[in-house]
């Protein structure tokens, strides 16, 4: 820190600004990381109770479902699209799968439940992809349509009642804990096992984007679709793939949501879309496509979870959270635009 300060004294001011801009352009994740550090230090100074392992567990637990959604949104954003239907897919899959398993195969194993929900989610996501391809309309508008169609379908034809007695395999999975800690206020907080699912999903998404041909195709199509097409990438198949991937992650997220809450509520998860998209944007993905990283997305998710969970600790009432979230998005948007101009 002090080293860079002395360097700045010697270099002209414009040089420092452009170097900072260059740094953030190369590592857009750093923006979210910086905000996280600032937030943590500020909260920690105002309320030392923040620094305890139990709090970290809480934040991790709360990040899992949003993190899975965000990884899916990252894929779609990187390919130049936008998906807002993932919450409806998750709700539809979680409720339909829980209901089907309870009614027809109550002692089904956790792995088969996950496979069922992943396949179901991927199919619904593939419908999104097909529609975006054939309608040639902005994917935001298409997925707003499918969001309402999926959720309306769920509530009209599958059911609206709460489901309290979820299958034993899911219940056990939700209770599975890696570690437990007793917080200062006497509550025992556990690090749930399903955090591992997020870790696996993040690794898989990262490896795919980094090492496989389809991963390169995603960035190519998001960056310059016309050139990517001339290079021989099939835009339609790649789009189908990213939407199916997002749907699959959404399906898995839905099952985890049910397992950890121990009930299936078809009205759940509505309205989470904007905060997930914000997380991905804060993590440095450009809405115009062609960029974004798994690490940045995860940082963005942690940042959003922090805003939701810790502002209360420093006496900011929860009713102002939404406004602060909005401000963060606008700041991130302006910040990324300005640094693009500066460079």
């Amino acid at each position: 820190m002090s080293l860079s300060a002395t360097n700045e004294d010697h270099a002209p001011r414009a040089g420092f600004a452009s170097r900072t801009a260059g740094f953030f352009r190369r590592y857009p994740e750093a923006f979210a990381a910086l905000l996280i550090v600032v937030l943590c230090v500020a909260v920690g100074l105002l309320n030392p109770a923040f620094w305890q392992l139990a709090n970290l567990f809480d934040i991790l637990r709360a990040s899992v479902v949003r993190g899975l959604f965000a990884l899916g949104v990252l894929m779609v954003l990187a390919a130049g699209g936008l998906d807002v239907s993932f919450s409806a897919i998750a709700a539809l899959v979680m409720y339909a799968v829980t209901k089907a398993v309870t009614l027809f195969a109550p002692d089904m194993g956790m792995l088969s439940i996950f496979i069922m929900s992943a396949v179901g989610g991927a199919l619904l996501g593939a419908i999104n992809g097909l529609l975006v391809n054939t309608l040639k309309a902005p994917s935001l508008i298409v997925t707003i349509g499918t969001q309402y169609a999926y959720r309306g379908f769920l509530l009209t034809f599958i059911g609206t009642a709460l489901f309290m007695n979820i299958p034993p395999a899911m219940d056990a999975f939700g209770q599975w804990s890696l570690m437990s800690r007793t917080a200062e206020n006497g509550f025992t907080v556990q690090l749930p096992g399903f955090v591992l699912v997020l870790a696996v999903a993040a690794l898989a998404t990262w490896a795919m984007l980094r090492f496989t041909l389809i991963g390169r195709a995603v960035y190519a199509i998001g960056g310059r679709p016309d050139i990517a097409e001339r290079l021989g990438y099939r835009v339609s198949s790649v789009q189908l793939f990213v939407f199916a991937w997002a749907g699959m992650l959404a399906g898995i997220a839905g099952i985890i949501h049910v397992s950890s809450n121990r009930l299936a509520n078809p009205f759940d998860l509505a309205g989470i879309e904007l905060s997930v998209i914000s997380a991905v944007i804060l993590g440095g993905a450009r809405i115009t496509g062609g960029s974004g990283s798994v690490l940045g997305t995860l940082l963005g998710v942690v940042l959003i979870t922090l805003v939701n969970n810790v502002l209360i600790l420093i006496g900011i009432p929860s009713s102002w959270q939404t406004a602060i979230l909005g401000l963060f998005i606008l700041c991130a948007g302006v910040f990324f635009v300005l640094q693009k101009r500066a460079g």
């Binding site: 707003i144 969001q147 009209t156």
Partner: protein, 327 residues
Amino acid sequence: MDRQFDGQLGFLASVNVLILVAALMFVGGSFINLFNFQSMGAQVPELGLLSLGVMLAMISGNGGIDLSGIALANLSGVVAVLLVPFVVSPEAAPSAYTFSFALVALSTGLVGGMVNGVLVGYAGLTPIIATLGTQLLFTGIAVGLTGGSARTLGYIVPMDDFGNMPFWGIPLPFALFVAVAAIIAVVLRFSSFGKRLFLLGSNPTAAFFAGIPVRRMLFHTYTLAGVLASIAGFIIAARTSSVKWDYGTSYVLVAILVVVMAGVRPAGGYGRVICVVLSAIALQMLSSLFNFMNISNFFRDCAWGVLLLLFLASARIDLTPYRRVRS
């Protein structure tokens, strides 16, 4: 230029007639009576004004969209409810109260729209991100100011009359909506602003080299959308005598549905006010019809989603060759 759209206009008019015929068949006379028309007429303006805002943003091109409309409408109402009693007492001077209420609401909309305009026009943010952020911001401010609860206005005669008392059989909000829509139609059609807006939407590069001040145009467009949203906010407050941050959250979708159904091109450069008005009326009638037939709200949401996709599909399949033949 407008002859190209006659197909869309005729189509929307026939959709309206079709819904009326269907209503007569399924529901009968109670749908067609004056009272039901008045209640539908009082509900159309909110949706219609928000749709006009979305339409303006979409026409301006470059992925233009305004997702913050209903949030800004609710925020305008909330700000006015909280602020105006400090200036004018609602009991002592109801007319002055109503006037100041409208003034404060409109100013809030103006400021909110200007925020959108600065972000999209001058800062150069993508409209989706900018209006997504301001949607959260406006909603968040409304939640923060009210603590999340609804605020009631009480019974204020001139305002309540405006919202709920038809004048010569016509609900006043509807009359206001038609007037505003007419003004926007005239502006788009005859003013240089309108001509430049269409050019900007159909080809931003050409517009830039033609010397059109792109940034200022975008700024004005989003500001206007904000003002329209706040008019909707005033109508909502007058009609329901209360304001709440989460009133009509589904309008975000439905306004886009109206605009897409009206044949406005999501890529920018095309759109007609009269089509938006007709398509808002059609959706309102369909919604009432569902109510009369005791169809659940959930199915209605499902139907809106499917309808949106169908209209996107129809715009893709039918109209392109049709337009080519006509021009």
